[in-house]
Symmetry: C2
Subunit: 333 residues, 2 copies
């Protein structure tokens, strides 16, 4: 539906964490990213070629994808100038912001005049049901985190790739804009109406073959007070058979909440598992996924070994060392 390949718009993202959408596209569908577009003061860099709109157009780009997520999702004046020009130069636009492209009258007017498309992947297109909690066939794995932005999507994406390479039946189930932009399908959970959150996840992960695994993208954290309700709905709507604990060990406070200290992996296990067992009494914590991007390779290996001993669970950084251990654990369930 969204035309590829993309030019990835990074805007004035303060840091790499804010460019999660663009990073995800680069890492999981690199063939779709011809370059990056950055404004002055941008603190993010994907390592792709910096391109003007004209250069990207000449390189074949069809859609300008807004690859940054702002708190509150506001489209600034600086951004707007680029987006209008992009439409005029023949790009479609795609975004997963709260502030919808289709609600910006100037963008709508230019898109209509130029015949271009505005894709808001964050907007639910389905009337989701209220969750009924009934047991579904097939297996489900959910990534839960000590914090937001600790690698839950990466973990599920990497496991899908590894499982398919092994000939196992697996489907990544996107619950956020990055995943939806990458896979073209999913539930934009943070934009779903409260009463239908759990039902939307039941809808996303329906009855399936007994040996099929849904790998559900996690959102938020039970310990992140801004978004914990979203996480709770994933745990109960997803009724997972397996939980993967995700953690970024160098973080000193919860993302966006300077007063809040991240919990330990033990805290996460002891909080998430009893809640998951309300919906699925057979649920197990099967492994740990550590985001070691701020550690040297030696530090990362030592930390993973320590976690394995302490938690009695396989631990890996799926991006750095592959997700093989986590797939082994799922296969052994």
């Amino acid at each position: 539906m969204i035309q590829t390949p993309y030019l990835l718009f990074l805007g004035d993202a303060p840091d790499m964490l804010a460019a999660k959408v663009a990073i995800g596209i680069r890492d999981w569908r690199p063939e779709n990213a011809v370059g990056q577009f950055r404004l002055e003061g941008c603190g993010a860099d994907l390592g792709l070629t910096d391109m003007t709109l004209a250069e990207a157009k000449a390189a074949g780009a069809k859609t300008l994808v807004i690859g940054v997520a702002n708190r509150g999702g506001v489209i600034s004046k600086e951004w707007k100038k680029v987006l209008v020009t992009a439409l005029e130069e023949g790009f479609d636009l795609a975004a997963g912001l709260h502030n919808l492209l289709r609600n910006e009258p100037d963008l709508v007017a230019v898109a209509e005049a130029t015949g271009r498309s505005l894709h808001d992947v964050r907007v639910p297109e389905v009337n989701y049901p209220i969750a009924d909690g009934k047991k579904r066939s097939g297996k489900r794995c959910l990534a839960v985190g000590t914090d937001c932005s600790v690698g839950k999507m990466y973990t599920a994406m990497a496991m899908e790739r590894d499982m398919r390479e092994r000939g196992l039946k697996a489907t990544f189930r996107a619950t956020g804009q990055t995943g939806i932009l990458i896979t073209g399908d999913g539930v934009p959970l943070d934009a779903v109406i409260a009463d239908f959150m759990a039902g939307s996840i039941e809808w996303l992960t329906p009855d399936n073959e007994e040996d099929h695994w849904d790998l559900i993208e996690g959102q938020g954290s039970l310990f992140h007070v801004s978004f914990s309700g979203v996480t709770m709905a994933l745990i109960h709507g997803g009724q997972p058979d397996a939980l993967i604990l995700c953690h970024e060990p160098t973080r000193s406070h919860m993302r966006g909440l300077p007063e809040y200290t991240p919990p330990s992996l033990e805290d996460l296990r002891d909080t998430a598992l009893p809640l998951a067992r309300i919906a699925n009494p057979a649920c197990q914590v099967v492994g740990v996924s550590i985001n070691t991007q701020h550690m040297t390779e030696d530090e990362a290996k030592a930390y993973l070994a320590e976690v394995e001993t302490r938690m009695g669970l396989p631990a890996t950084d799926p991006y750095r060392f592959g997700s093989g251990k986590l797939v082994d654990a799922l296969a052994a369930l």
Copy 2:
């Protein structure tokens, strides 16, 4: 904003639990309820005079309030006939259903032709912020339940009345359609977009005098897989200083979920308190509120005594025996 008094529409409610909205109005603002309107097969009865629209009009009723909540909130054809006639006979309509009055073209057309108003109290009228988790001044108490519809609203309403009678500063904070219809103000939490749930509760319970208590209406249950995300957002957005545990001891399964058994009061305490302490480390469980409507008075008293011994907490049925014990516990904090 909504003109009083009301005629309470019970429709074809299968039972009294489905008539929660109407019961709340009758019990907390009886002067606003001139009578009830029931369709054939209605299983609910408020003990009010059954009236035709014409009789209610003659008795002074200004607004027909839809006093029943259906799963999914669909306006049936049988209901529609009554609602159209009510508009034609000069009533405003008020409802808290998911399926909005304003989205029904026939109702909108008749309301415009007759100059009547359609009030959808469920629809958020505010752009709520994302929660920032910052500590707020003043005190907050939240009712949490083992299940949905166990008396959380009643508990907070009764405590507000008792606290005001004692000269204490207290404000009931409505988070559902019944509370909003009764008080004329609040957050329709189940209709709020997922990302803004906790923020809407921060907005509803802002900084206040140090000796002021917000009595926050609970929603759903951490143990009800359809709505647990909403409950989670209340616990973290409300950052309560005090929790009241609410329970209906005769229920054999979770409301609407025949496969799920209600948890014990101990399960609720041990699940809710650690989650609440993420947002407010000083949070305490201060008391237990039991809905004893399906017990004799002797049974109720024996059960409450047993709960007090077992839990080491004051326990009462606020509707039957008053909320004095719970107010004492808050005052002692």
